[in-house]
Symmetry: C2
Subunit: 265 residues, 2 copies
DNA sequence: CCAAAAGCAAGAGCACCGCTCTCTATTTTT
DNA sequence: AAAAATAGAGAGCGGTGCTCTTGCTTTTGG
């Protein structure tokens, strides 16, 4: 945080960064399993044992990369949202929602290995150290903020779905108290579901489950993101049909014409 | 396939099975990265080199396990559906849909490592050998069959969401031709999305993303599965409101009373 | 200012890994 | 019964994560 004190600390910071950089590079080419401390050290021209001064174990290096990845995708989402708001200050909630989703997806397809690291199978022992929970929630919080803004702007309708089962209601209530007390409980529940579902689609794309199934990935994703926004209760038009099911805008969805869902990319 | 011919072939089959069994055991305790051919051989009391008579490489062993896992979850889904139909021949399409989803989830939480193997990050080199695509699609096909049955029974409404973008329509059309020509294209698209979204929720649960977020996992999942069924167009009651948005049953959802979504487990 | 303390880099070494090669024993086929 | 195919064992190669010991440099404190 503070200013760098001596040459030693500066060197330490630089070398730590270089190690992470090279490790990330190897991660991109050989995958998480192929990340080798020795190879990193070799590439950096240092003895493998020296690397342990910076990361006490391979898992710690991986954890650092995990945190970086969470931060990267979180920052991408926040940045994309900020850009949209600057470009188009009166953007519809649905557009803002889709912007966040698309940012996450774009980052994922651009960094598949890093994505796999954080949203794929947890690594060997793995215990999800506490340091990861903050960065890990940034995308989710961005989604929450979009919905919250829509709510304060009066652009939030009823979420789809049946009334909540008791325990689900309890979870959602606890979450609501934590991060958005003004939002209806059902919206919170729908939001969490949508959050998981967005990443379900991204994971299927990145992990190859869509091979030979879905080819128009970005359009497909966009379509699903819009549907999920509706599911959460974000209105696609800021008008009538109060309290009605927001998802039900399909009938008269002149929307944006010509097949397009939202202005792509 | 055919009868076992000699003692040698029988032994080979048995040993192959034993290797896979032990490998699966190790997979469950140490994770995919911790699967060691030497350890498997050691546990089986044979030389590590002898193991290569059965699996030419570690990746081939993993591939075998992957196929087994796909088959296991697929069989679980099909079995659960068959059981429901036997127990309750007039089951609602939504119930059948949820049964398939729940079977997949139950298998996943019961076999997290095997689940990670097939729905988590792809393994090192990995090329998704052709042998996996058949088993891999069983759960998806089960979902398709549920929707198709609902359609022939006249219990399929309009799926939620806007009209499809062109390329998405093309993908869905191709898929429809392959596996369910009678279904509306939009239903196919919604189905694929729902398929990915179901596994998104399962993955978030199994991979720990729901830690400290969702505690009532099975109820939450059930809720989401029902919502996804509606999204696809499965009616929750076999009656009125033709062509209307099926998801819109929320208003008067007396449903099944007392917070419960569907008869659990 | 210089000695003590602390941090850093390197090398050797341990136990393990996937995998190959060679050699022998056994079974199947001809 | 001879020949061919198959199964197992062992040694060995290059790689891995990680530890320990040994020197060296920077920082610190009297």
């Amino acid at each position: 945080m503070g200013a760098i004190r001596g040459a030693r600390e500066r060197a330490r910071a630089e070398i730590t960064a270089a190690i992470k950089e090279e490790a990330a590079r190897q991660l991109g080419t050989h995958g998480p399993a192929g990340l080798s401390l020795r190879a990193v050290a070799r590439e950096l021209g240092m003895a493998s044992s020296a690397l342990y001064r910076y990361f006490p174990s391979r898992d710690d290096l991986l954890t650092a990369l995990i945190i970086d990845a969470y931060d990267a995708v979180g920052a991408a989402a926040e940045h994309e949202l900020a850009m949209l708001d600057r470009r188009q200050p009166a953007a519809q909630p649905v557009e803002r929602w889709v912007a966040v989703c698309r940012a996450a997806r774009d980052w994922a397809v651009g960094h598949p290995q890093e994505y796999a690291l954080i949203y794929g199978s947890p690594v060997p022992g793995y215990s999800a150290p506490q340091d990861t929970v903050g960065p890990a929630s940034r995308v989710g919080l961005a989604l929450v903020s979009v919905v919250r803004d829509a709510h304060t702007a009066g652009l939030l309708g009823e979420p789809a779905g049946r009334p909540l089962a008791g325990p689900v209601r309890a979870d959602a209530g606890r979450l609501a108290a934590e991060l958005a007390p003004e939002l209806p409980i059902r919206v919170i529940a729908a939001l969490v579901a949508a959050w998981a579902q967005v990443f379900g689609i991204v994971s299927f794309e990145v992990f190859g489950q869509f091979n030979r199934v879905v080819e128009a990935r970005s359009e497909f994703f966009e379509q699903a993101a819009v549907a999920l926004a509706a599911q959460v209760g974000l209105r696609t038009d800021g008008g009538a049909r109060d309290g009605a099911i927001a998802a039900g805008a399909s009938a008269g969805s002149a929307g944006r014409g010509a097949g397009g869902v939202l202005p792509a990319k």
